[in-house]
């Protein structure tokens, strides 16, 4: 892992188009600003991890799908 020491207002560049700036350093955390091209998705890691985990659970959904579909139809 690359490690940088940065002060408020300083930034790092990743490739040509991604810039991460330290906006504020406080007791509760560090506030970062990210500038990235639109095709690069930027998320808090925990959100991405939650979605990945949910996807993995969804992929292993088992059993009688006809029955599941019926329950959903009854609900509607």
């Amino acid at each position: 892992m690359l490690v940088f020491t940065r002060k408020r207002g300083e930034a790092i560049m990743i490739g040509d188009g991604i810039r991460i700036e330290v906006l504020r350093v406080g007791r509760e955390g560090v506030r970062l600003g990210v500038v990235a091209p639109p095709e690069i998705a930027v998320h808090r890691q925990e959100i991405y991890d939650q979605i990945r985990e949910a996807n993995q659970k969804a992929a292993s959904s088992p059993q009688d799908l006809g029955e599941v579909a019926k329950r959903l139809r009854q609900r509607a």
Partner: protein
């Protein structure tokens, strides 16, 4: 390949690199799905028995299949705004033409949940899809539609 022609060059590069001639029914997912990054092509299957569910099945890369449902079947007023980046990835200007699919999970006790937080959006005109993670979203990842035993 119409996908390559109609998308912005930057957005399409990953897809173009991995494209194999595929069935016209194949929906391209240039980034796969989180956790299934190498699944780059899916088909959407429907049947009377399955309705209102549909099955999204991987046809490229590792085998994977998901049950999906239109989020508006779950929550009639479901609404989600696409970011500029999502629109670029999907090659769209107009949200009305898009197909929205939420992943369905059947938990061990039979509880049925739907992921309304990160819907899959497909642009049928280009047959390209993407799982979007809106920055501001009031819906949960695990929205319970039917309790289990």
């Amino acid at each position: 390949m119409t996908v390559a022609r109609n998308l912005t060059p930057v957005a399409v590069r990953p897809a173009a690199a991995t494209v194999a001639p595929a069935s016209p029914d194949t929906i391209r997912f240039p980034h796969g799905l989180p956790g299934f990054e190498s699944c780059r092509g899916f088909v959407l299957m429907t049947s009377d028995v399955l309705g209102p569910l549909q099955c999204l099945k991987s046809v490229e890369g590792p085998a994977a299949s998901f049950l999906v449902i239109d989020p508006r079947r779950v929550l009639a007023d479901f609404r989600c705004d696409l970011s500029e980046g999502d629109r670029a990835r999907l090659g769209v200007d107009d949200q009305d033409t898009l197909l929205w699919l939420s992943l369905v999970t059947i938990e061990l006790d039979g509880t049925i949940t739907v992921n309304l937080r990160a819907p899959i959006v497909v642009n049928p005109a280009l047959m390209v899809g993407h799982q979007v993670v809106p920055y501001h979203c009031v819906y949960p990842i695990r929205y319970v539609v039917s309790e289990g035993r």
